[in-house]
């Protein structure tokens, strides 16, 4: 009871409250000077997210307004819960691509039901992960895998937009098909769309160049106000270039339409106004008398329930850490998870698809001089205003201009230099990188990253599956694994003992030294049990030595009847070689001894240098995988 009370007290203490709601810490210190930075940055980010949101919804294969539905609630929520002043939440290119992969159903294309269900559960899963301190799992996704994934995503996304740039219709989603059909249909290109798209891209590239201009003024010279202001304006236009291009393109389209020139592919009519605030639908009505049930929808999402929260986590933490280091503060990864989870959860009530931290907008936010997470409030308000007032105008936005926004944004994500670097520095790491990249195209980006994670984990895990085991070559074989002995390595050790000691010409007794084994699991305990079975069957004896107290306790709890443990290798060897009577009897007496003197002190002796058992210990070359045939030469003919 006291423990529960204490836990509750801690859980609801001011400190915890401050950790869970970082706004409590920074709001009291909020000053007017902060407001200026936050308003300017928030609105600049807002100008970026408006065109991006409309464009990214295309990638997610949803109607354009969903990109804006996804762009405001997250900003509001993050202001209260976030630990980084720079991060802005909302739709991102990669998350939109993943939404297209997992949030679309074959029953009703371009319907948002599954995407919103994903947002809802991604939020819950992320919050749970945050509370359980599981943020560390992103560290198991290695840099080469992330790199291969983002490179593949950038190409997939950019290529997926070619159809809009060229004004092609009826292009399939599947990457290989898409490439084939896009090339096949090039003759059907709508030249107006193409011109609009290319012009937009050129202007976007020029404006980006202007934004990044470095002026090499002489030091100490005071610049005239006019220069300063014009530079500032150029920078602002460059930063808000997406909005500038989209507005200009929409203006041209509207002007053409006014003259009855209907040649461009336009966004067209979209749902007006703000989304309703309501619980997501968990069923999908596909016709007046046919409804798809929750179970089927969930099955359709499948692995998306795992991958979407993970990708969200990956993006937010990576961005958060990068900008925290840049601006000299630190973020709390698990609180970030909770903040992002809450942002997704609440966003699902306003028909948002899954959101996460956006790298491009976080950079805009930081560069625009944001001071606190309050900047998000102004970003969110601008989006809400746009939804309330501007939706009728979105009709005129050309698809090709949005495609240009996407293509120029994602092509930066492709990194070919990493291949050269890895070739020079660490060739083995090319395997997960290249596999992720290639498999993303062949099997789809969601499987590409899973395969990459699997491969890179296999590379770090391989040494565990092939533990370094020293084996003595005398009458009594000494087996000495050199560190942890957990399930990936257990079978290997058992096979080694089997072929080396039990089925050779002259079966030998075995002493198994645990001195260097620092951790075990249930499979290790099973190993001990099965080694007794193996040895009994071949009429040889086995004894264990040098287990640490905590390991001995685990093994003893399994109550293996024959189990015999000795403090030192010598004691074990002596016991096996001296006694002619069955080990069983001896083992019981040894067990009795163990129970009698179960104090830590009796384990002191096992920590001596084991080098002294020396001369008869030989080492087995690592490359000897599988079964040592030469030692056994057994055919299946028995």
């Amino acid at each position: 009871m006291d423990a529960t009370k204490k836990y509750c007290k801690e859980a609801f203490s001011v400190k915890t409250l401050k950790r869970r709601f970082p706004i409590i810490t920074w709001l009291p210190k909020y000053r007017l000077k902060h407001l200026q930075g936050d308003v300017i940055a928030g609105l600049t980010v807002g100008l970026t997210v408006l065109p991006q949101g409309l464009a990214y919804a295309q990638i997610a294969e949803l109607p354009p307004q969903y990109g804006l539905y996804s762009a405001f609630m997250g900003c509001f929520v993050y202001t209260f819960l976030g630990t980084s002043k720079d991060i802005t939440m909302g739709p991102t290119a990669i998350m939109s691509l993943m939404t297209a992969d997992f949030g679309q159903t074959e029953w009703l294309p371009h319907n948002a039901t599954n995407a919103i269900i994903l947002t809802f559960f991604a939020g819950i899963i992320q919050m749970i992960m945050g509370f359980l301190h599981l943020g560390f799992i992103v560290q198991f996704i290695s840099f080469p895998v992330i790199n291969g994934f983002t490179s593949a995503a950038s190409i997939t996304i950019a290529f997926g937009q070619l159809k809009n740039l060229l004004g092609l219709k009826g292009i399939p989603r599947d990457f290989l098909h898409m490439v084939y059909e896009t090339f096949r249909k090039i003759p059907e290109t709508n030249i107006w769309d193409l011109v609009m798209g290319l012009c937009s891209m050129v202007i976007l590239v020029i404006l980006k160049f202007i934004k990044d201009l470095k002026y090499d003024d002489e030091e100490g010279v005071v610049l005239p106000m006019s220069t300063k202001v014009s530079r500032k304006i150029l920078w602002l236009v460059g930063t808000a270039r997406n909005a500038v291009v989209v507005v200009a393109a929409a203006g041209i389209a509207a002007a053409l339409l006014a003259k009855d020139i209907d040649v461009l592919s336009l966004t067209g009519n979209i749902q007006e106004g703000l989304p309703p605030f309501k619980l997501p639908n968990f069923t999908l009505q596909i016709s007046p008398n046919e409804t798809i049930g929750t179970g089927q929808l969930f099955q359709n999402i499948g692995a998306g329930f795992a991958i979407i929260p993970l990708i969200g986590l990956l993006e937010t933490i990576a961005i958060g850490k990068a900008f925290a280091r840049k601006n000299d503060y630190s973020i709390e990864p698990n609180q970030e998870l909770i903040a992002m989870g809450a942002a997704n959860f609440l966003s699902s009530f306003v028909s948002s698809y899954p959101i996460t931290g956006s790298f491009s907008r976080t950079a805009v936010n930081s560069a625009s001089g944001v001071r606190t997470p309050a900047g998000g409030i102004f970003t969110g308000l601008l989006v809400v205003l746009a939804l309330a007032l501007l939706t009728p105008l979105f009709y005129y936005i050309p698809d090709a201009a949005l495609a240009a926004v996407i293509i120029t944004a994602v092509l930066d994500m492709f990194d070919w230099k990493i291949y050269l670097t890895l070739w020079r520095v660490k060739k083995l790491d090319i395997i997960p990188l290249f596999s992720t990249f290639i498999m993303s195209f062949i099997l789809g980006i969601e499987y590409g990253i899973l395969i990459g994670i699997g491969l890179s984990l296999m590379i770090v895990l391989y040494p565990m599956a092939r533990p370094h085991v020293k084996m003595g070559s005398k009458d009594i074989m000494l087996v000495q694994p050199d560190q942890g002995l957990k399930f990936p390595g257990v079978e290997y050790v058992r096979d080694k003992i089997y072929t080396r000691a039990l089925i050779g010409e002259t079966p030998r007794s075995v002493v198994f030294d645990f001195t260097h084994v620092s951790g075990v699991d249930y499979t290790t305990v099973q190993l001990v049990e099965r080694l007794y079975e193996d040895c009994k069957k071949h009429k040889v004896q086995i004894a264990f030595a040098g287990m640490r107290p905590e390991i001995l306790e685990i093994v003893e709890s399994a109550k293996i009847p024959e189990f015999a443990h000795f403090h030192t290798i010598e004691e074990a060897e002596q016991a096996l070689s001296e006694e002619k009577k069955p080990l069983l009897a001896r083992a019981h007496s040894s067990n009795a001894t163990d129970e009698r003197s179960a104090t830590p002190s009796r384990y002191m002796s096992i920590n001596r240098d084991i080098g002294s058992v020396g001369p008869h210990v030989i080492e087995i070359p690592e490359q000897m995988n599988g079964i040592d045939k030469s030692a056994t030469s057994i055919s299946p003919l028995v």
Copy 2:
């Protein structure tokens, strides 16, 4: 050229040929005494696989004949390629369940096209894995995960057969729905089916009991021939109990039909004769003018391409090892993979769904006294004969009798005792066990095992993500990780240094000691690079010490301009504390020295006991996850 020649020579040597075709080794030694054992065992297994095949096809949601199509080619192929005399290939309960999960399409239910495609590719993938020696990956599936998976499979399969036992129609596949609908429809039970099913089950249990009877004869007493023969007959009836029950049930059904009593649910008409030998279809015609393309079929299979070969591998290797140990021989895991791969690949030409080693039939094979892999020939021939001659008779087999065969077979697979054992021995291992078990019901058995694998790997990997790092507390901070430093642990170390040395009240220089670091990857090299960035930004210095030659070579290949490496910690500390000039200059001179004396001998000194740097080294408690707030107390308000 010479290397290629040598490789080719080795690849086509007699030794390699013998390893790839084990039959070359054992066939010349084949004698008549072996034939007797092989014929009896082969036919006994055949009697088992006939009813099992018909029944398992039900689990796979395919017409019954597909169970038999899957039961002969694998036996033939394995005779030539297998390294175990006991293993028999064919349909299994778990593989049939996985086939239902991945081999069914919504376009045309109970169609085998996707299942056969899976067989084809599972075969190719398994062969490739065998040639690449990837058999070791099964070791990454821990015992608790396998246990949770088979337990969940047994319940899913058994429950899925309840509808046949009760004669219910229209039960959905999805487990939770299935349970709900089965209970809801209990009033619709067909009492005839139920009686037939229950009687079959009771007889099966009795026959199994008879087979396992132990007779305690006095030692030395010679038994009369009649006793011996009757015992042998009882054993045979017990072993072939499935065939006995199914034949008897079919006889009763036929007799009832002859009297115009049409009350039992029967198998009904099935395709007569042997399957054609042809390449699998890679498209699916669902109506005269609608065909589903290869791409869509492949997408439908999805993760099945990875999971099916893996489950097959898991079953075969586990069974092979168990029986090899029992009968004193050894198997070659990678050759087993090739044998199973070839068996699947060729089976796909005779319309088989994915096959693997069957535990129950391998046990029958072994117990019936099989002597060589040639037993499979006789099993296969019996199945071929049955397909050629008996298919018209399968009409009369009652569904309830097949359900009884399945239920009695799979209920043994459920193991509840393991929960008690793990609770007693190693509580942490209950997490992957229980998660696999429960998630198999909630998300489907294919995701259950993936989640289990993920969790158990996370448990063994966690120590890698939280490497034990000693950190000194003086003016110059000494950082000493205690073993491998690869991607899962890199971020943690960087965060530690960041919060401990760089953003504290008084930023300190850092000496990073690699003495105990045994392995690195590209992410580690990035760590070095980024630590220089971090340190430069905070105007402190960093130096590295004690790298092994192979690690130093990797780090140097990255050409980090500021990189400075010293042989010993003392040298590094001295360099950092003595010099007031920027480290950059000093680093370059150090690099020059490194290149001049790049002989192994200069690394000798780093292997001394590092305990001597002692007194100012403190240890950071392991539980200090994430960011050390107390040391930094940074708010997002900047």
